[in-house]
Amino acid sequence: MIVLLGVLVVVIGFATKRNPLLVVGVAGIATGLLGGLSPGKVLAAFGEGFAGSRAVTIFAITLPVIGLLERYGLQEQARNLIARFARLTTGRFLALYLGLRQIGAAVGLTNVFGHAQTVRPLAVPMAEGAAERKYGKLPDRTREKVRSFSASADNVGLFFGEDVFLAVGSILLITGFVNTTYGTHLEPLQLALWAIPTAVCAFVVHGWRLLRLDRQLERELLTANVRDTAAVEAAQ
């Protein structure tokens, strides 16, 4: 039971908002030592963990080209482009993005979209552009909200699309684990089919919440504008 203290370190660390890197470092050392690893083994575990998980950081390879394009006005042009589609509101655009991300992931294209490659340079400026066309400059709080929802559209689309695809890691993990542990024979296709109902639910639920975002923005921004106008009038 004592190794569960490591879990407790993580929970307390995040709850008290310590720097996550330190929390994870301390939790890893504590768990390793409590679990009976030698200090050398704990160090080796950190080294092997870093080496084995470099794939999660490889998106950094796209940063120079995205940075270069942003320098030349990529985000501005994304805003200009979306401004031409009057019917495409922030919520509708993000729901569309959610659908595309989900379909992409479902056919195995998990690396085609992503936070560094598409959300920051394209999806966020487009989502903000659609709101700006309607309401003018966005207050910081609203901007944060639109950005958070843009990130969420990417995540939900990825998670609940990829399991419909046969060759994805989680499906192979399930078949690998069960077939070797319990000597049964599960086919990836059976598992992928059972991922479809949840994928549909995910699109309906999150898509509906994205569409509702439009109404929230309207409420927030119209009252904010009224307050601004009132403040200007009061100043006069």
């Binding site: 996550p20 080496a51 320098r71 042009q77």
Partner: protein
């Protein structure tokens, strides 16, 4: 054969170059700490190749990882003033270049898609052109390099230092968040070898009453959800909860359809991924990348969806798996 390691070296090398730029950037008050942090990550990326093949000891890399965590965790890293264009210049440039700006940006997904679907099957002399199992990562890497070349031609930008500087600014903005996903993957591995999973499995079994199908379904799904939140990864939670509840109770005792039980159980875990800072690459890194003040912004946006979908998974499993 094009190997994934080459792209890890390229990433490592560009981190080293950027680290050198960071050290010489006098606008950054913490330039030495920042340079050391990214220099260590860059060197670690390259050194890792030999750790993976067991030709070099992992301990020195472990020390380096903990040094990086301390450098960033105790506030020795910072950011310089980015050398970039003004909003007016960007607007003028966007007006001039128009939709041509999208060409390099779309090159990345198009090349990634082509690699994942087409080039995957190309062989030269009986050997696959792309390293097997790494096609999508290679697609991303090749796409980024091709996009950079295309971008520099379209923008008539001749200095390679310009994209490197821009990429560096984005790295500095992300700071420690960049290392967190790898640290968490490591923590997961340590939890695994230390037996944290077994203990959680025992806890789950001890709270489970006998002969109540619906409670067992709820325990399995909620257990996947909660344990994924703690570990930051549904893959780590899956073997534990399945060995404790999913297989012996739901499939064995209640005769559930194994494909349905396991597939939906995994998806219940994914709901947990949506709401945990431990899934840093999905929740914390984007907050840094999008320059949010609230690093939990994406989690807050996802919380209601995750709750409803957890309920959906429980209902779908209870109705259709038995």
């Amino acid at each position: 054969m094009i190997k994934a390691e080459w792209f890890y070296w390229l990433v490592g090398l560009s981190f080293l170059v950027m680290a050198a730029q960071m050290v010489t950037d006098r606008s950054n008050p913490k330039r030495f700490g920042t340079g050391a942090f990214w220099g260590l990550i860059g060197a670690g990326f390259i050194y890792s190749s030999w750790v993976v093949t067991k030709q070099a000891p992992a301990e020195p890399l472990g020390v380096a990882v903990l040094v990086m965590a301390c450098l960033a965790g105790f506030g020795f890293t910072g950011r310089g003033t980015p050398r970039t264009t003004t909003p007016e210049q960007r607007a003028a440039s966007a007006a001039k270049l128009g939709n041509r700006l999208f060409v390099p940006a779309l090159t990345i997904p198009v090349v990634a898609m082509a690699c994942a679907i087409g080039v995957k099957h190309v062989t030269i002399g009986g050997e696959p052109l792309l390293q097997e199992g790494s096609e999508t990562i290679l697609g991303l890497g090749i796409g980024a390099v091709v996009a950079l070349v295309v971008g520099m031609i379209i923008l008539r930008e001749k200095r390679i230092s310009v994209p490197v500087q821009s990429g560096r600014s984005m790295l500095e903005a992300m700071g420690w968040a960049m290392l967190l996903p790898q640290m968490l993957a490591t923590l997961g591995a340590i939890f695994q070898v230390s037996g944290v999973g077994d203990q959680v499995g025992k806890l789950a079994t001890s709270v489970l009453p006998e002969d109540s199908l619906y409670i067992a379904v709820v325990v399995y799904c909620v257990g996947m959800f909660a344990f994924t939140m703690i570990m930051g990864n549904a893959f780590a939670a899956f073997p534990v909860m399945t060995a404790a509840v999913g297989w012996p109770v739901l499939v064995g005792h209640f005769d559930g359809n194994p494909a349905a039980v396991l597939a939906i159980g995994m998806l219940a875990g994914f709901c947990g991924t949506l709401v945990t800072p431990m899934a840093a690459n999905f929740n914390i890194v984007p907050a840094a990348l999008l320059e949010l003040k609230d690093q939990y912004g994406p989690i807050k946006a996802q919380l209601p969806t995750a709750g409803v979908l957890l309920g959906c998974n429980i209902v779908i499993m209870a109705l259709f798996a038995f």
